[in-house]
């Protein structure tokens, strides 16, 4: 439908409803809970409020009085507490109407009946949900059903400290060309290790700071499995996939980093605050993180992000295998099975309006996430932001997400346990993978394919 048709149908709709019997005021209280949401991410909740205002105005023009009270909550201790709070509330029939959470929750929550498909209440094929990046909106799908709407997008790049790279022999032009070399597969994780070694051996960074990874489990580590050719899910059957060789190579890479002295053996469990501070000021040569780190590095006092830091995809494992990649782990708006059908419909409409590019751009810029819709790049406010523009172009086209599979949580946990054992020197990578295989078989059963 084109714009004119849209307008005319909207006017027709308005006239029709004006002709209808006088309506009574409709009062709704819509509660929204957001997990993992700090003050810069507050637009996850405020967007719903803005949407409520918009919807009330639309209803008013149709001659209906609509009053929406939005109750916002984001003060959960961490992801664990948020998820516990939501699931227990849902069990008790006291869930919020809207939850902002990881797309990985769709699979378990859908089976448990905590959420309802948003597509049952709104038309996904119309504006603005028809303008969301296709690879992004499909992340909120499961079993051919659109359960939720992506709230933001992000991606997890590799970062390089420019000055250190310069000192180990890169020219400025070479550093600028690095993202391109990573994307074409010319620069690999093998080179990351070599460059990190150079930086440590030359004393430019301290021992253990050549390659400075994330300090806890997270989607980031699945990227390295993918770098070595691993796939998380078998595209044919939708089952989870354990590729022994890729997993072993992925563990081996971290073990090599530890043995070469470029990564600390006890790195896991380092305090996040310490970690952020160190990488923001060049204490590490190469590290990886998320696009939202941009805001944090500035907060840590690095005023010149582009002058000091280069970023790229996660390189492929080595020249012969794998692919450069990055994982996006968007949060999604989900509709909890809460309240009557009319309340559900109102909540769904609010989510739809909150996904307008202009409203979403506010969140993207304030929280240094990336937009959900290509049209955001046409909004000056978004396009003028260098980080949003460059990160979107360099990373998002290559981004994939972790699978919406009920058992992925266990898969990821076991993979991480194996990595910890190999990293800490408790087991060789081969032994660690053997145990991972055994545990995955026991935990995932028929839902796993081993290669």
């Amino acid at each position: 439908m084109n714009r004119t048709q849209l307008y005319s149908s909207a006017i027709a709709a308005a006239m029709l409803s004006l002709a209808a019997a006088p309506a009574f005021a409709e009062d709704y209280t819509i509660s929204v809970w957001a997990g993992g949401t700090n003050p810069p991410d507050a637009y996850r909740l405020e967007a719903i409020e803005m949407a409520a205002d918009m919807l009330e105005r639309e209803y008013a023009l149709e001659g209906k009085e609509l009053n929406i009270q939005v109750e916002k909550r984001r003060d959960f201790g961490g992801w664990d507490q948020f998820k516990q709070a939501f699931t227990l509330a849902a069990e008790a029939g006291k869930a919020p109407n809207i939850a902002v959470t990881s797309h990985l929750d769709i699979a378990p929550w859908a089976q448990a009946g905590y959420i309802v498909p948003i597509e049952d209440y709104i038309d996904i094929d119309s504006w603005p949900t028809n303008n969301i990046y296709p690879n992004l909106i499909s992340i909120a799908r499961l079993g051919n059903v659109q359960w939720g709407i992506p709230q933001d997008s992000e991606s997890r790049p590799m970062f390089f400290w420019r000055d250190t790279m310069r000192k180990i022999g890169y020219s400025d032009a070479q550093i600028d060309a690095l993202p391109e070399r990573v994307a074409t597969g010319d620069y690999t994780l093998h080179d990351v290790l070599e460059d990190a070694k150079k930086a440590v051996n030359a004393g430019i960074v301290e021992k253990g700071y050549g390659f400075y990874p994330r300090v806890s489990n997270g989607p980031d580590y699945a990227q390295f499995y993918q770098s070595f050719g691993g796939k998380l899910v078998d595209p044919e059957t939708g089952k989870l996939l354990l590729d022994r060789k890729s997993m072993t190579d992925f563990y081996q890479f971290f073990v090599d980093c530890v043995n070469a002295g470029v990564t600390r053996r006890n790195h896991i469990g380092t305090e996040w605050n310490q970690w952020y501070n160190e990488v923001s000021h060049g204490k590490a040569a190469i590290w990886h993180g998320g696009t939202w780190h941009y805001a944090r590095y500035i907060k840590e006092g690095n005023e010149d992000f582009f002058g000091t830091i280069q970023f790229s995809l996660i390189p492929k494992g080595n020249k012969d295998e794998g692919r450069p990649n990055t994982i996006t782990h968007p949060l999604v708006y989900l509709l909890a099975k809460q309240g009557d059908e009319d309340t559900l419909e109102i909540a769904a409409k609010l989510i739809k309006i909150a996904s307008e590019p202009r409203i979403n751009a506010l969140h993207a810029i304030k929280s240094a996430h990336l937009g959900i819709s290509p049209l955001e790049q046409d909004i000056d406010f978004y396009a003028n932001d260098r980080w949003a523009r460059e990160a979107t172009a360099r990373l998002l086209p290559y981004a994939n997400a972790q699978p919406n599979n009920q058992k992925y949580g266990q898969f990821s946990q076991i993979m991480w346990k194996g990595l910890e054992a190999a990293w800490g020197g408790i087991k060789s990578p081969e032994d660690a993978v053997a145990e991972v295989e055994q545990e995955m078989k026991a935990a995932l059963g028929d839902d796993l394919i081993i290669r």
Partner: protein, 432 residues
């Protein structure tokens, strides 16, 4: 003469209720959970019946016939007279007539396509919710539809043309709630990690206990020989770990042991490289954990032992001094023998509480590095209540916990025997 004293029963009631609610109920629930596959995905309070396209593969593995699979996989919607009649009844004849005119006998691949067709009509149904309802009048697919009642589900399955014999298998796959299983225990005993957690727990309990008792004794005895005011100050200081909130107490340890922390800073001038004294290797982690837990436990030992030492008649100690006994001989021959019961009591009490405690490990190493300090109770917590991606394994975690309960009860029985519990609670001889 035996009779029931109702007054006694009345007085006991609150205690019975507390034992019932706070001990038996959780244990019974843990036992029940441990024989289920309960997780976030199955929910706690029961389930519905739901088939998603992914389930079709699973059903094939369960031996469901191809005919049934084809019937269930059919997601087509056809505009037929039956559907049009229903549409006319619910949404008016105008809409039904227009749909008939445009799409009579058309087959749509899925509901979404039919919805689009309904949207594009002149007499369009405005609300997406209603369009879905209208589209549903033309299809028999039950994929992605949730049924709360088993009867409704089976009726719907039969309507798709599924083979009767396959219905039990289809129903079982479609059920979204938890089911009874003994797999948790099979899985538990088949995995090498389980045995590692058991060994870790044994090491943790034994070493911490030795430190607890030994250090508690040392503090009690050494403060006993100090001047009163001085001794009280010391005891108060050593009591701090127990009264500090664990989070705060552990935070101080972190400041103390981080690679940018106190220990690294003062050791730097001595040429010892800065390192994370808590997490450098598994040995570091173990030493830290034992010191942290040991200090908390030692303070309790100190108080108990101090009061026990004070109850030793001073005349005995004076007499021994007259006889020329050294301090060491006093400790060896007078004090320690009198402390036998407090030591035994504390050993049993602390064993039981250490078995189940994990909060200090959670806050310090979280089981790391590389799961080398993951103890049984922490593994239960991690399994049942913590997963980055959110699907918590309540059933499997409960299986972990149930084994801990069994060990705890067994240990209590052994200790009761050791203490001669029956003698302790028996009537005084004079009353027999």
């Amino acid at each position: 003469m035996k009779h029931i004293s109702w007054l006694g029963v009345g007085f006991l009631t609150p205690a019975l209720l507390i034992v019932g609610f706070l001990f038996f109920a959780p244990v019974v629930m843990t036992a029940v959970f441990s024989f289920t596959n309960m997780s976030t995905a199955t929910g706690i309070s029961g389930g519905d019946y739901l088939l998603s396209p992914n389930n079709l593969d699973e059903m094939q593995a369960h031996g469901v016939s191809q005919k049934t699979l084809d019937a269930l996989a059919d997601t087509t919607y056809q505009v037929d007279d039956h559907g049009l009649l229903l549409l006319a009844q619910e949404f008016g004849t105008e809409i039904a007539n227009e749909l008939k005119e445009r799409h009579n006998n058309d087959i749509f691949k899925n509901r979404g396509e039919l919805e689009r067709a309904l949207k594009d009509m002149k007499h369009r149904i405005r609300s997406p919710r209603d369009r879905k309802k209208a589209a549903d009048l033309f299809g028999t697919s039950i994929l992605n539809q949730r049924f709360t009642s088993k009867v409704d589900f089976i009726t719907a399955v039969i309507q798709t043309g599924a083979v009767q014999a396959d219905i039990p298998a289809v129903t079982s796959v479609a059920y979204t709630g938890w089911q009874w299983t003994t797999n948790n225990f099979k899985r538990l005993f088949s995995l090498p990690a389980t045995w590692r957690y058991a060994l870790n727990t044994l090491a943790y309990v034994t070493l911490t206990l030795v430190f607890n008792i030994g250090f508690g004794l040392f503090l009690a005895i050494s403060t006993f020989y100090m001047p009163e005011g001085f001794a009280n100050t010391f005891r108060t200081i050593w009591f701090l770990p127990r009264i500090l909130p664990p989070v705060l107490y552990v935070l101080m340890w972190k400041w103390f042991t981080w690679d940018t922390g106190f220990l690294s800073t003062i050791l730097a001038p001595l040429g010892i490289p800065a390192q994370n004294w808590m997490m450098q290797t598994s040995t570091h982690a173990w030493v830290t954990i034992i010191l942290i837990n040991g200090s908390v436990g030692a303070s309790l030992g100190m108080i108990l032992f101090s009061s026990a030492i004070r109850s030793i008649p001073a005349s005995m100690l004076h007499a021994s001094e007259v006889d020329g006994a050294s301090r060491f001989q006093q400790i060896r021959h007078i004090i320690l023998p009198q402390l036998r019961w407090p030591i035994l009591f504390l050993t049993s009490y602390e064993t039981l509480s250490l078995l189940a405690s994990f909060e200090h490990i959670l806050l310090t190493t979280d089981g790391g590095p590389g799961k080398s300090t993951e103890v049984w109770a922490l593994a239960a917590f991690h399994t049942a209540l913590r997963n980055y991606s959110g699907n918590l394994q309540y059933g499997y975690g409960a299986a972990f916990a149930l084994i801990l309960v069994a060990i705890g009860i067994a240990a209590s029985l052994v200790y009761m025997r050791l203490f001669n519990f029956r003698d302790l609670v028996s009537k005084p001889r004079i009353e027999r």
